[in-house]
């Protein structure tokens, strides 16, 4: 593809393959627009992508490298009269920051780990492997330095896979503790993770799909759902008083719950039923915090905690309207596919944007990865984008241009909000149960004052995101500090790490990465000093569901094609008539004359 010229005329050019961009692409292509969909990266789904373990390591490596200063090429030779160039900004590396990697598992082969009691060879090996992962010159130096606080910004990102000091003190201790605890259990080594790395699908964003959320509705409505498989989140958990507990949210959960008294069960069920409808009582609390309303219901601490943190998933100062709306959204989604309101796509969330891209391609959209747009050709009079010029200097005319916000990022002067993320590979579930194939959503209220609310998703191997014997844990919160500062306290409370050696009964963290992502939920669709037919897709938002991205995609689509239906059901492949193909003649009517067939076909075309 790289060598070939692209067609020089499209209706819609889309840059970036994140979820909203992909939905817009599918929607436009579906109604007959000629779509060119580009991404400068080598993979689909941008910051919505899922990576294999090795893929994630190279992603980390890429962000940890110095970005090449990109020379701006002058394409003004391609301009006609009355046109000007608007350059897109240097593609972000700023959307990811504060990357920190820790490996707490033995980095040598299993046999060696079992035979050797000495810490020294372990460390040597670790450092060596570390250099494999991270070939930059300064890696050895970094690996032996004290834990370094990173201050954000792409240039200062660093990978610290093995903290030297921790290695010295904790490693031997860790391994002996392990061997005492579970002498028979095989410890999963780093080498094993790398070897089996292809079986991981590690999401950059961590979200879940509400069963009655707009994404699920859209997947069903558009028939895109046929490209993916889903699994129910099997339980909702919460961290409370130092313990992980199951949150009873469905009728079956409430029934089976052991921690609630029967009276609490009744109160909870009654509250959940009553809050589905707006009552005068709710209106009386208008504008006041949801928590206040919950307090006055005399539900008790247990239920109040569940309702506020796990069901509404709001903070203590959220107003009642928002709290109730969140509660209703949760409850409406309950029971559609199972006992929790959430679905998770097998093979990771990165599948979803790709499904929409596939739909776009099925309807004729053209895809190019490692292909970007350098600048826009803008008509001075109308202030509309007439064409784009790609990074190979081809001028491609288009009527609309949709772009991921990182390409216009630097123009937005406002300080951006960040999300803190952590991805952990652990060796057990935070709440072991009869089944080891639980998909859990864990809500974690602030562990201390000034700490954020953390949402944690624990995926089991049957979600096809991690290997047997491991769990993949995603933590997300709105940043207060760096990802490490925000999330490490939660990790040490919920898991067994070298920082929390006393928690031996908790699952151990084998490997983890912390990073910050830009929270794009504040970005406007238009403006940014850009032409009126250029639409900016903001990146991620901090909420658990996909409502924001889907609404955004629909808004953009409606601006591009106000008259058209948004993602109508895709026809069955056998119902599509391809050019040059005779509409299949009914076998029983072979004796009929061709004219009749022709007429029928014309008729069907004019109907459209």
């Amino acid at each position: 593809m790289a060598a070939e010229e692209l067609p020089s005329e499209f209706d819609v050019v889309i840059l970036g393959t994140g979820l909203p961009e992909s939905v817009v692409a599918a929607a436009c292509s579906r109604v007959g627009q000629r779509v060119l969909h580009l991404d400068r990266r080598s993979y689909y789904a941008a910051n919505w992508a899922s990576f294999t373990f090795n893929g994630l390591l190279s992603w980390i490596q890429q962000y940890q490298e110095e970005p090449q200063p990109k020379e701006v090429q002058d394409w003004s030779s391609l301009l006609d009269e009355g046109e000007e160039l608007v350059y897109l900004s240097n593609p972000d590396s700023a959307s990811i920051s504060n990357l920190q990697v820790f490996c707490f598992t033995s980095e040598e082969d299993e046999e060696e780990a079992q035979s050797s009691d000495l810490p020294n060879p372990t460390e040597e090996k670790a450092v060596n492997e570390d250099t494999d992962v991270k070939p930059s010159a300064d890696s050895n130096e970094e690996a032996t330095t004290e834990k370094q606080e990173t201050v954000g910004g792409a240039e200062e990102e660093q990978v610290t896979p093995t903290e030297g000091e921790e290695q010295d003190t904790d490693k031997p201790h860790l391994s002996t503790a392990q061997s005492q605890l579970e002498p028979t259990r095989k410890r999963i080594t780093y080498a094993h993770l790398v070897k089996e790395g292809r079986r991981f699908n590690i999401d950059l964003v961590s979200k879940l799909m509400y069963s009655r959320g707009s994404l699920v509705d859209l997947l069903i409505k558009s028939n895109v759902s046929r490209y993916a498989e889903f699994k129910n989140v099997t339980r909702i958990l919460t961290y409370r008083n130092g313990n992980v507990e199951q949150v009873p949210c469905s009728r079956a959960d409430v029934f089976a719950s052991r921690q609630l008294s029967v009276v609490e069960k009744r109160k909870l069920m009654r509250f959940l039923t009553s809050c589905m409808e707006e009552t005068e009582e709710h209106q009386a609390y208008s504008g006041r915090p949801y928590l206040e309303f919950l307090c006055d219901q005399k539900l008790g601490d247990n239920l109040q905690h569940f309702l506020l943190h796990s069901i509404a998933m709001v903070t203590e100062d959220t107003p009642i309207e928002e709290g109730l709306a969140a509660t209703r959204h949760f409850l409406r989604s309950l029971g559609r596919y199972g006992n929790t309101p959430f679905l998770f796509p097998l093979y990771g969330l990165g599948e979803i944007p790709q499904c929409f891209c596939r739909m776009c391609a099925v309807f004729g959209g053209i895809y190019c990865l490692r292909h970007s747009v350098d600048c826009l050709v803008v008509d001075k009079d109308t202030n509309r984008c007439k064409a784009v010029i790609d990074n190979r200097g081809q001028r491609i005319s288009c009527s609309h241009f949709v772009v991921e916000d990182s390409y216009v990022g630097k123009k937005a002067a406002a300080p951006r909000r960040l999300l803190s993320r952590a991805v952990l590979i652990t060796d057990g579930s935070v709440l072991p149960s009869d089944s080891d194939q639980q998909v859990s959503m864990v809500t974690i209220p602030p562990v201390a004052a000034r700490y954020p609310v953390v949402k944690m998703v624990e995926l089991c191997p049957s979600t096809m995101t991690c290997i047997p014997g491991t769990y993949l844990v995603h933590l997300t919160c709105q940043s207060a500090g760096s990802a490490y500062e925000d999330l490490a306290p939660v990790v040490t409370r919920c898991f067994h790490t070298p920082d929390s050696p006393d928690q031996e009964n908790r699952p151990s963290v084998l490997w983890c990465v912390y990073f910050n992502m830009v929270d794009g939920s504040g970005v406007e669709l238009e403006g940014h000093g850009l032409p009126s037919n250029v639409y900016v897709c903001s990146g991620l938002d901090s909420t658990l569901g996909h409502e924001y991205a889907i609404r955004q995609a629909e808004l953009i689509f409606q601006k591009i094609l106000p008259e058209e239906d948004f993602c109508p059901p895709a026809p069955n492949p056998e119902d599509i008539i391809y050019d040059g193909e005779n509409p299949s003649t009914p076998a029983g009517e072979e004796d009929e004359d061709g004219a009749g067939e022709e007429g029928k076909r014309e008729q069907s075309q004019t109907q459209e």
């Binding site: 079956a252 069920m269 009914p586 069907s604």
Partner: protein, 622 residues
């Protein structure tokens, strides 16, 4: 619009679907034709090809026509003995598109049975395994097809080496898709029975189903059949029923076998409480709870023997209704078995808790004689004695109704403390859900089991609430309430040791427990809502005075052959025809009748007609 994907129009799609259907039909028909004779084939194709889908669209006539042709044909083939694998394949093709074709399943069974005789065991196993796999695909098509499930039962039973665990997991899968598929429940029961799945494992299975959705009668019911097997009530535990005065060999294990040991019972209470606290409007849990609280079966015994010298009549009351004609009773008078004819008190009901017999005239009429009667209930090995002393005109022997278990048999929980704590938790729920009918009703039952007289006031109040929150069943609640009022009055009467029974102004709508009133001489039911005196009323063999003023009585059927009845006060009722008074004519001692305020009094010549009908009445008030 340019560039838009062209999609076939609805007409085109229809056309293609039609063709698809036609193709399928062709296959179907040709498959069937393999069974058909060549003569009928031509004819059938002509009929069939005019229609799109054979069994869903053909009109009834055609279906029956085709069917009959087909049956005829298969019949021929079956007769000809074509029981080969080709036939198996052809029927498979047909059944996979229409699994409800019973004749084909039969045909298939014949083929399989034939194959069994000619093939090696391993081959038979293979054939049957393939059959099971085929059935699975049929069940996917229609999970509630009688034919497929029945055939699966048959195949499983004949399979040389059955794999029951596979069958169980198939059932589990089916039930997880539809936990109310009774075909599957049936089949599963068969599998469990044949394969001998441990009861504990089955209980775990119900745990799982109830855990995922407790609104499931099947699971709760299944549990109720498993628990007594797994945790039977230990035999030495105190019996819920009162020990009979004389040891009776009829204390059979059946009366105990459906009970569960107390330890397990307490766990079950907890489980079911979780269910009804979670959703108090779901009745399945309440029904199970009701089962847990139990229903004692009263011991079968003769509860009362009454003998009257004047009428030379013996009346026997039983703890449950018996058929007077067939019950094996033996009356021994002063050591001599008597040949008597036992009959019910009223011809309208044969099963009655009271039987009567008349002794031969002169047997006991001499007041200076003392007599000893024994009534043997031979089939139950039980009997009761009664002595009629000199100078007495009547005598009786009985258990007092104050015996606790009499009206508490509704709930048979072993210990009062258990009932008390259950009542407490129900009251707790009532506080949260003051208008829940299931809760109210359960509380009423518990209160009655604990202390019917002590809780009388609260019980009546709860009934009032019940009628308000569940107006559709208010008549039921009224009847139930009447029953409880009568029970309480019987108890009070027994404590007072009188033979007068009076319930006035209590909104009674029905009469029950009339067998308890065998000895009552004076009954006052004035100012209630009674509409009739039912045939059971004839059990009041000692009744002398009947007061039922101010009711809505239209029917006096039960005032029938009451030998001692002298006064009937029927003021302000709804007797409208002379014929309704006909039963009174059977009461020989009736002297006084008050009919004021009844429509019948408006009739012409009423007085003379009444005199003719009831010649014994001397005091008639109209």
């Amino acid at each position: 619009m340019h560039g838009r994907i062209k999609i076939k129009s609805t007409a085109q799609q229809e056309e293609e679907k039609r063709k698809e259907r036609e193709k399928k039909l062709k296959i179907y028909v040709s498959a069937r034709d393999t069974c058909f004779s060549k003569v009928t084939r031509v004819l059938l194709i002509q009929v069939v090809s005019n229609h799109q889908v054979l069994f869903s669209f053909l009109c009834g006539l055609c279906v029956s026509y085709l069917h009959s042709m087909f049956l005829l044909d298969t019949h021929c083939q079956r007769k000809e003995g074509i029981l080969d694998e080709e036939a198996l394949q052809v029927t498979q093709q047909l059944l996979s598109s229409n699994p409800d074709f019973a004749t084909l399943w039969n045909y298939r069974r014949e083929i399989l049975m034939h194959l069994e005789t000619v093939k090696e065991k391993d081959e038979v196993q293979k054939i049957y395994e393939a059959e099971l796999a085929f059935l699975e695909s049929c069940l996917k098509l229609n999970p509630k097809s009688y034919g497929s499930w029945h055939h699966r039962c048959w195949v499983s039973a004949r399979l040389p080496r059955p794999d029951w665990s596979r069958e169980l997991s198939l059932c589990d899968r089916c039930l997880s898709l539809d936990d109310r598929n009774f075909h599957c429940w049936d089949y599963r029961r068969m599998v469990v029975k044949v394969s001998g799945v441990p009861v504990a494992q089955e209980l775990g299975f119900t745990d799982r189903l109830i855990g995922s959705n407790f609104s499931n009668y099947s699971s709760w019911h299944y549990r109720s059949t498993l628990l007594p097997l797994l945790h039977p009530e230990s035999p030495e535990s105190p019996s819920p029923s009162h020990e009979p005065p004389q040891p009776s060999p009829s204390h059979s294990p059946q009366t105990q076998s459906h009970r569960v040991c107390e330890e397990q019972l307490l766990k079950e209470y907890e489980l079911v409480q979780n269910a009804f606290f979670t959703d108090p409007n779901d009745q399945s849990a309440w029904f199970y709870y009701r089962w847990l609280l139990g229903r004692a079966e009263r011991e079968e015994m003769i509860s009362c023997v009454y003998v009257s010298r004047d009428e030379e009549r013996v009346a026997v009351a039983f703890s449950r209704p018996v058929n007077a004609q067939s019950v094996s009773l033996l009356l021994v008078l002063d050591g001599q078995p008597q040949k008597v004819e036992w009959k019910s008190v009223h011809p309208r009901f044969k099963h009655s808790p009271v039987c009567i017999c008349d002794l031969p005239p002169g047997t006991i009429s001499d007041i200076t004689n003392e007599h000893n009667l024994t009534v043997h209930w031979t089939e139950k090995y039980t009997h009761r004695d009664c002595a009629l002393y000199t100078g007495r005109t009547e005598s009786w022997c009985r258990d007092s109704a104050t015996d606790q278990e009499l009206f508490r048999s509704e709930l048979s929980v072993e210990k009062t403390s258990v009932l008390q704590s259950e009542l407490q938790s129900c009251n707790q729920l009532l506080e949260l859900e003051p208008l829940n009918k299931w809760c109210l009703l359960t509380i009423v039952l518990l209160m009655r089991a604990l202390d019917p007289l002590g809780y009388e006031k609260e019980t009546l109040a709860h009934f009032q609430t019940l009628k308000e929150v569940d107006p559709m069943r208010s008549a039921y609640y009224s009847d139930l309430c009447s029953k409880f009022i009568i029970e309480n009055t019987v108890l009070k009467m027994e404590y007072a040791e009188v033979r007068v029974f009076s319930i006035t102004d209590k909104n009674l709508t029905t009469l029950c427990h009339l067998d308890q009133l065998l000895l009552v001489t004076h009954i006052n039911l004035s100012s209630n809502q009674l509409q009739q005196l039912p045939p059971q009323f004839a059990m009041l063999q000692c009744l002398e005075v009947l007061e039922v003023d101010n009711n809505r009585i239209e029917n006096l059927e039960g005032v029938y052959h009451l030998p001692k009845l002298e006064e009937v006060l029927l003021k302000n009722n709804k007797i409208s025809a002379l014929a309704d008074l006909q039963p009174l004519a059977s009461c020989p001692k009736l002297r006084r009748l008050d009919l004021r305020g009844n429509p019948v009094t408006q009739a012409a010549n009423i007085e003379s007609e009444l005199t003719a009908l009831l010649p014994s009445v001397t005091d008639l008030l109209l």
